[in-house]
Symmetry: C2
Subunit: 226 residues, 2 copies
């Protein structure tokens, strides 16, 4: 089956490159998070709020993936983070070679955390490692409460799930407990946060976790900078 072999070779080459990225970041004491979701779940707004919340505590760099436009990168740059835009011009997910090219545009020596905002897509990004130390999937209360069951590969690949737009719960039919049950059935190790970027509810808890996650590389960074 030559077609399968081609796909396997492409994925294997991607994973090798992802491991190189992971090691390169680790040498510089930078942790990486791959942030994924359906289009419009609120990844960029979450990043804006997170960057503002952790200003002075955590130096965050962002690789911003979009099919087209640099709208999101402009928003993230305005929020005060080093940002590089990747436009895939049609492709439905980021791949490791794109992230490696983007990393060359960043000054890693002054970063604690690199967030890679993936293309808005609940299917394809799940299969492609980018050199991240953890993956987070954002779901929102307006998307319907059956997404973990309908897109299980994404929830199996993630270490973190963020339920966003809690402020809209009064106006939609969405059972947060059902979503958590479905997600944990797919992936019992999933760490779950519930928040609203609009009201700020739950942002503290998420940012505390992210700071601890990023600082897990801190000792190594101090040694590297000495």
């Amino acid at each position: 089956m030559p077609k399968v072999a081609i796909v396997q070779n492409i994925l294997a080459a991607n994973d090798t490159l992802a491991q190189e990225i992971r090691e390169r970041l680790a040498e510089r004491g930078v942790r990486a998070l791959n942030l994924m979701s359906a289009p419009g779940a609120g990844k960029t707004t979450l990043l804006e709020r997170t960057i503002a919340h952790l200003r002075g505590k955590l130096a965050i760099g962002v690789v911003e993936g979009d099919v087209e436009t640099s709208n999101d990168a402009e928003r993230i740059e305005a929020a005060g983070a080093q940002t590089v835009q990747i436009n895939t011009q049609g492709a439905c997910h980021l791949e490791a070679h794109m992230v490696r090219a983007a990393m060359d545009q960043l000054d890693l020596s002054c970063l604690d955390l690199l967030v890679i905002e993936n293309i808005g897509n609940l299917v394809c990004p799940a299969g492609w490692q980018l050199g991240e130390d953890a993956s987070a999937v954002v779901v929102s209360t307006t998307e319907g409460d059956d997404k973990p069951a309908k897109y299980p590969a994404m929830f199996a690949a993630a270490q973190v799930m963020i339920v966003n737009k809690l402020d809209l719960l009064p106006y939609v039919d969405y059972d947060v407990e059902k979503v958590k049950r479905q997600a944990l059935a797919v992936n019992p190790h999933l760490r779950i946060f519930e928040l609203s970027c609009r009201t700020g509810e739950g942002l503290d808890t998420w940012c505390n976790w992210l700071e601890a996650f990023a600082h897990a590389a801190g000792a190594r960074k101090e040694a590297a900078n000495e």
Copy 2:
């Protein structure tokens, strides 16, 4: 470039099969609509409301595409339409060969319209013809008002755009006029509907259009049934 050739061959084979499906449906007087959106924009709820609204006026069959689960097919069947579920088990879009296999499970002689509900994904489905006479993309007011600019291929491929969840406009930052402007910049021929499946606002106008669209094949159907 052998990789490109493979992709081109796969797409060309898909388009040939899509044309066969289109002709087979036309012979039976059935029109087909490819319904696409991001996950959670409300395709299935829109279909439920549409089937109920057009009961007795239009016989609708549905091919229900999902990565996993048959939740949506069960909802559509309960709404009273002939339904076939396709589970792609990981794949991010429907292809024509899947629709052809699903069609064999439907009694086309009693249908006016076949709606193909694609995988929730604003990128990949746009490149794959399924034998449809028209494509519709559903966006919702909770997704952010920049989707046509960020996912232009989807809006270029569609003939219809439906702006759903108008009832949530008071609670979100969403500029409907901006979305319409962006979509029409990508595709000036786009037919646009604005509605709320929750309140019913705008459903009449949409259903009237869909009925006229389906009945464009009516004369042919009567001839075929004689």
